[in-house]
Symmetry: C2
Subunit: 252 residues, 2 copies
DNA sequence: CGGCTTGTTGACCTAATTCAACCACGGTGG
DNA sequence: CCACCGTGGTTGAATTAGGTCAACAAGCCG
């Protein structure tokens, strides 16, 4: 297994149910057509029929929908190593848009290649399925965040989640990590206005919980942040720590 | 195919990607151990290791999580024909609870049987995968509902969604349908307090949009309800109508 | 230089929460 | 039979979180 293969970050840091090198190679061979996107470019538009899915090699992407007055709700943030729209393989059309945040490199996988995989590689199939259910688990946590937390808690929760996910792919050292979203976009994640997000982030600074410098976040008090956000990262199914750290590997 | 098989409602009313009778039979044979639950009984508890998944034969169930002060957020409502925790097959542990609302009949499917299916029936596998992604699509819509709509809109959206899903399984005639949740529980769906839900439902009555009688809802003005809730049911992937009604069947 | 976007701050307003009292009801036990 | 209680729903008054509108400052880019 070459270290420089495209899918090397796929499920990095996660419980991988014994994903084998040969399977990663199979996946890697299915991936083709690497291309670059600039900020705001879409790879999926709501309702459009899909014949390929997209793997995010580097950079960030978001899923979003737009309401009747043009307001946008961000439904998910994708980071390198994510299959951003593998959902489109079983669903064929998606109900939301997927677009680039900043500069992005993606790879495409044809649904024909995925069909071949599910016919010949049941174990790899289950792992791909699993990866789409990680998205669903994050969706549920976003429902919790919006339903039960106030503005301050929502931001704390989002920062904790993002930090942990970036740690899995070694883009966070546990303290400082990149934050590609503007305040306006973080507001669209958290279901509040950008004005109130500005005030909320000021409060976070005031409380010495985090520091924001341009495109990076530095966590000054992890426990305080996790407490305010009622964050428990078990739902991210990290390979180490939490409820899920036991007999996962090499089963099934 | 006997009409009385347990899984007859599975994906009823949905785009089924050419689900064949033989495949439904295969699924039906994998299902066993029908049992009854009373109100509040749990089939999944957060973090618990699962070796079976649950198919809902009759009645209603909810997914939920509880916050640090004991407040509950409902993450999803399940209706007859839903595989309530098929997610647990790839994930092995879930991050939330699943419990009965009122009297319920369920059937269990062992993960061993599901493993056999994904090894021998790739097409059926994709359909099971698809069914879990319908849940994810609903999750996304719940994020939108909580992030972008006010209390009135959230209730309207939830009622429209529930009505459409029940129509798929012929439990709604398009006007009147059962609503198993109390006002308190609908409040836990919509992320508001039960006091405010009482006021919001009073407003809905005032506007002549819906009538509530005990465990049933009657829609008096569907368009008004859908407008307030900004509801567009495409994400439910109904077999008829909407963006998704074209060349779905019998492909793949 | 001007014009754009992002973030900040202030004053005011509104939606929703909180706390409380209260009613209707369907048991359950005396 | 009635007294009792717990649950679900309703209503009112006071409070608060967040939204709205507007002005302005700091980049940043053509």
């Amino acid at each position: 297994m070459a270290d420089n293969q495209l899918t090397q970050l796929f499920l990095a840091g996660r419980v991988r149910h014994g994903l084998r090198a040969a399977e990663l190679d199979t996946l890697d061979r299915a991936v083709s057509e690497v291309r670059s996107l600039v900020h705001g470019e879409e790879v999926v538009r709501r309702g459009q029929r899909m014949e390929t899915s997209t793997y995010l090699v580097s950079g960030f992407m978001i899923r979003s929908v737009t309401d009747s007055e043009g307001g946008r709700q961000i439904l998910g943030l994708h980071i390198p190593g994510d299959f951003v729209d593998l959902h489109a393989f079983p669903l064929k059309r998606l109900d939301h848009d997927v677009s680039a945040v900043g500069d992005v490199r993606i790879a495409q996988v044809s649904h024909r290649a995925l069909r071949a995989i599910i016919e010949q590689h049941p174990h790899l199939t289950r792992i791909l399925w699993y990866s789409t259910l990680l998205d669903a688990a994050m969706h549920r946590e976003w429902i919790f965040r919006l339903g039960r937390l106030d503005a301050l808690g929502r931001v704390c929760h989002f920062l904790c989640e993002t930090e942990m996910r970036l740690r899995f792919v070694e883009m966070s050292d546990g303290v400082t990590f990149p934050m590609p979203l503007s305040q306006r976009e973080i507001a669209e994640v958290c279901g509040i206005t950008s004005v109130h997000m500005s005030r909320t982030m000021a409060a976070l600074r005031q409380l010495d919980l985090v520091a924001f410098d341009g495109g990076a976040v530095t966590i000054l008090n992890y426990q305080g942040l996790a407490d305010l956000g009622e964050f428990d990262g078990d739902y991210l199914y990290g390979r180490h720590g939490g409820l899920f750290d036991d007999d996962y590997e090499d089963r099934m």
